[in-house]
Assembly symmetry: C2
Homo-oligomer: 143 residues x 2
DNA sequence: TTTCGTGCAAATGGTTTGCAGTGGC
DNA sequence: GCCACTGCAAACCATTTGCACGAAA
């Protein structure tokens, strides 16, 4: 399971979207592919740049709407960052460690943090899943 | 040590600023007081609103410059959040658990997460301190 | 008096929105 | 054909910046 291709990730995303009755469109396909091919997270500008390389007609606002759509559907997650938001497809649960100096981020296997996650859940009632920012989750009222 | 008054917090902040040779001004005093009185974090707009209640002449841009100043000096920290940044005075090390649905945040005692913090340091080389966002720190290159 | 800090206002830049046209199903 | 989705452009909003004035030391 540690060798998941970018196609696998894209397919997994589409499976969720299909279940929700979302239409297959070029813009969505390209955005998902870009995210699926990326290790880590991308800003809207970065996603748009890669998408526009093959399809210049795709607008930035569409990329915005698409990534928000993916987040709403639980397919992707946001990594809030000053100045811009970073997006990534949801994968297996993991935790991020981020440097507030340079913004570099590291992914930590959740298995190493199992105890911490359990503690966090106990204290806050947060349901922790495959989210981007460390210990960000969805609380009881929002789940 | 669990009963630290808002004055205590403000005084502690000023001690650091004094050591850096920062001038005492009305705007800084008010912003620090607001942060010191607050449990949790505030947006620039919220800080400004509270400050303007007693001193309407204080400008929003000044609040921006002040909180950034405090962060630079290590007196406060930023909690990146979509749409706006949240600020808080630095306290004892703690970790946040945040709901990406409603934005509600919970503070978790770092003691409960000691093992996790150690793991994070080992994996990423991050030096973790009294920062706002969970597991945000300062990496070797930036320290 | 010399700087540092602030008020004010304009500029910036990421994100959102209204609307008309188009492509998915 | 219906309606979700997109392109385009304008609107928004938090944050930044330039500049001249005023206050701290």
């Amino acid at each position: 399971m540690e060798t998941m291709t970018s196609q696998d990730r894209a397919t997994r995303a589409w499976r969720i979207l299909d279940a929700a009755g979302a239409r297959h469109t070029m813009a969505r396909g390209l955005v998902i592919d870009v995210l699926a091919e990326t290790d880590g997270h991308l800003s809207v500008a970065a996603i748009h740049e890669k998408v526009a390389a093959s399809r210049p007609e795709v607008n930035v606002s569409t990329v915005h709407r698409t990534v928000n759509f993916l987040v709403e559907r639980g397919v992707a997650h946001v990594l809030p960052w000053p100045g811009e938001a970073l997006f990534g497809l949801n994968e297996s649960p993991h935790v991020h460690a981020i440097c507030e100096g340079c913004g570099r981020h590291f992914e930590l296997p959740a298995s190493d943090l199992g105890k911490a996650v359990a503690e966090a859940r106990r204290h806050s009632g947060l349901e922790l899943g495959a989210t981007g920012m460390a210990l960000i989750g969805r609380c009881q009222d929002c789940a």
